[in-house]
Amino acid sequence: MNKIVERWNRVEGFLFGFLNLAALASAIYGVIMRYLFRAPPYWTEEICLYMIIWAVFIAASSLAEERGHVAATLLVERFPVQIRRILAVFNGIVCIGFCAIISWYGFQIVLQTYACAQKSSTAVRFPLWIAYLSVAAGCLLVGIRYGLRIYRLLFRFQTSEILESHEMSQEEIHP
């Protein structure tokens, strides 16, 4: 179980790190072609944007795993550990609810656009279902992450699991 999660983390990290660099490369390629070869490619901006959006939703899953989404936890941090544990389970359920609804309807939109073979309205004619899939898949991943977290909170509890590690908290600083 832990091994699978670890490998999953690595694959995710590699994916959005790579997507970010690829998006950079396509933006730069656009600039270079425009000035050096006077032949601006029409696809760079759009593809760059798709890659960044995908990277954002994959990164959201990794952030959920590392408790990196900022939250106003000033009050909660004062509570005793057991109460925080219950709250964390409650928060996880709420987030799973949101992710489930978004990814459920998200996948329906994906199926629809796929069935109608909708393309972007630009010259690229990019199949839109790939773009919409980012939201649905991202939220599904985040939901699974929260599910795993609830499992750990209930059955494999460690105190370190409860500490906040996002930027709006002082409990655990990640420079």
Partner: protein, 426 residues
């Protein structure tokens, strides 16, 4: 409706549900209960929120900053600045301010600026006899200039939501940023004279030349970024991409602080912090759309016109309100929550939206350094290994100077507007 809203939003926020999810869930509940919009549309709204090219500037600027921190760029900036002003009274503190300003002119993030300079300067300051509180206060406050001096992630966000020109907003941030730096330096000079801080031997000409030479690649970066934008060569997003690529090249091949196999992990780290902001943007826009549709902004406009508030009082209230929000929340969330209501009001009151963007940014700078929740305070107390209250105490004088800056920016619009008017026409 308001009771339900306060219960859901306030409840989730206080119980420590991440802000991105709090915004998304609140919007979802409110839409399900009170709005004809089908929930089915929400994933599309979340997608469309990010589907705008100027937004890619945010991850790119964060990537540039991340590589500069890891690649040693900030070290060479600090060493060069030290040769020029290090021998003055309070020299190292002034070096911290100047290097933060320079870093701010390359990347657009405050936490990154404070972190990049803090890691190097704070321990040096403590070694040279500065108190730990003062040292961390200087950097925590100077770091906030990251979102004031162009480029700026906060101004990019404002430009997208308010539909204003981002290069114009950047230009309007120049004078308030320089004013802030000058105020800080003046206070440091006064305070250090009283405490007898700093004032060592002057660097020799040879040392100065060598340090400057080493810093040349870093010193060129602002010219690439800002020159590219204002020369009309590249868009803001492309300038951000250029900054990121140049900083990768410098860190890997020139300063060699980053090994080639570390490129993807560092890029992932950058994407993780940018993704945090972008994910908030995506759910906050769902929230903002609901807010606009609910008619709250229109009612606020009617209320404010009924009250016949003068712009003077209106801006005073806005500042107080933002100050309060800034004590508890973080920059992107405050902007995304408040702007759907504030922007229609600003237009009705006849306030220039560019001016308001700068006012908002000064407030966001203060938000980063006002307790109990101030991101720069947290990061710097971690770097300085100082207790939080010590950093808060050290930052306090600078926060007061920030209020002076806020007063000037609020009630003297031409102070920030004259530069964009001069260079880009009215």
């Amino acid at each position: 409706m308001i009771t339900v809203f306060v219960l859901v939003f306030g409840g989730l926020l206080c119980l420590g549900v991440p802000i991105a999810f709090t915004l998304g869930i609140t919007a979802m509940v409110m839409i399900a209960l009170y709005s004809p919009t089908p929930i089915m549309m929400l994933p599309e709204v979340m997608y469309n929120a990010l589907d705008t090219f100027p937004l890619v500037a945010i991850p790119f600027f964060v990537t540039a900053a991340q590589f500069m921190v890891r690649g040693g760029t900030s070290r060479y900036l600090v060493e060069a600045a030290n040769c020029y002003v290090g021998h003055l009274r309070g020299g190292l503190a002034i070096v911290a301010v100047v290097s933060c300003m320079f870093f701010a002119a390359i990347c657009g993030s405050s936490v990154a600026s404070a972190l990049a300079i803090g890691i190097i300067v704070i321990s040096a300051m403590i070694d040279f006899g500065y108190s730990r509180g003062f040292a961390s206060g200087v950097v925590a406050a100077s770091g906030t200039m990251g979102i004031m001096i162009p480029p700026s992630v906060a101004l990019i966000l404002y430009g997208i939501i308010a539909e204003e020109s981002i290069p114009r907003l950047f230009l309007a941030g120049v004078t308030p940023g320089l004013l802030e730096g000058a105020l800080y330096i003046a206070w440091i000079a006064y305070y250090s004279r009283r405490k007898g801080y700093g004032g060592g031997p002057r660097a020799t000409l040879g040392e100065t030349l060598r340090a400057t030479g080493k810093a040349v690649p870093a010193l060129c970066m602002p010219f690439i970024v800002l020159g590219g934008i204002y020369g009309g060569f590249v868009t803001v997003s492309e300038a951000a991409a250029l900054a990121a690529v140049v900083s990768i090249i410098i860190s890997v091949f020139v300063y060699r602080g980053v090994k080639p196999r570390e490129i993807i992990p560092i890029s992932a780290e950058a994407m993780r912090s940018a993704g945090m902001i972008m994910f908030i943007i995506s759910t906050a826009i769902v929230f903002g759309n609901w807010l606009t549709e609910s008619g709250v902004p229109a009612r606020m406009v009617a209320l404010v016109t009924d009250l016949k508030l003068s712009p003077f009082l209106f801006l005073l209230f806005v500042n107080l309100f933002l100050l309060f929000m800034g004590m508890f929340l973080e920059v992107a969330s405050i902007m995304l929550i408040t702007l759907p209501i504030l922007i229609p009001l600003v237009r009705v009151m006849g306030i220039d939206p560019i001016h308001f963007g700068i006012l908002m940014t000064v407030n966001m700078e203060l938000a980063l350094e006002t307790p109990p929740v101030g991101l720069n305070l947290f990061v710097i107390s971690g770097v300085a290994k100082a207790p939080l209250w010590e950093t808060i105490k050290g930052t306090f004088p600078f926060t007061c100077l920030g209020f002076i800056q806020l007063a000037i920016v609020t009630y003297w619009p031409d102070f920030c507007l004259f530069l964009p008017r001069l260079l880009m026409g009215p």
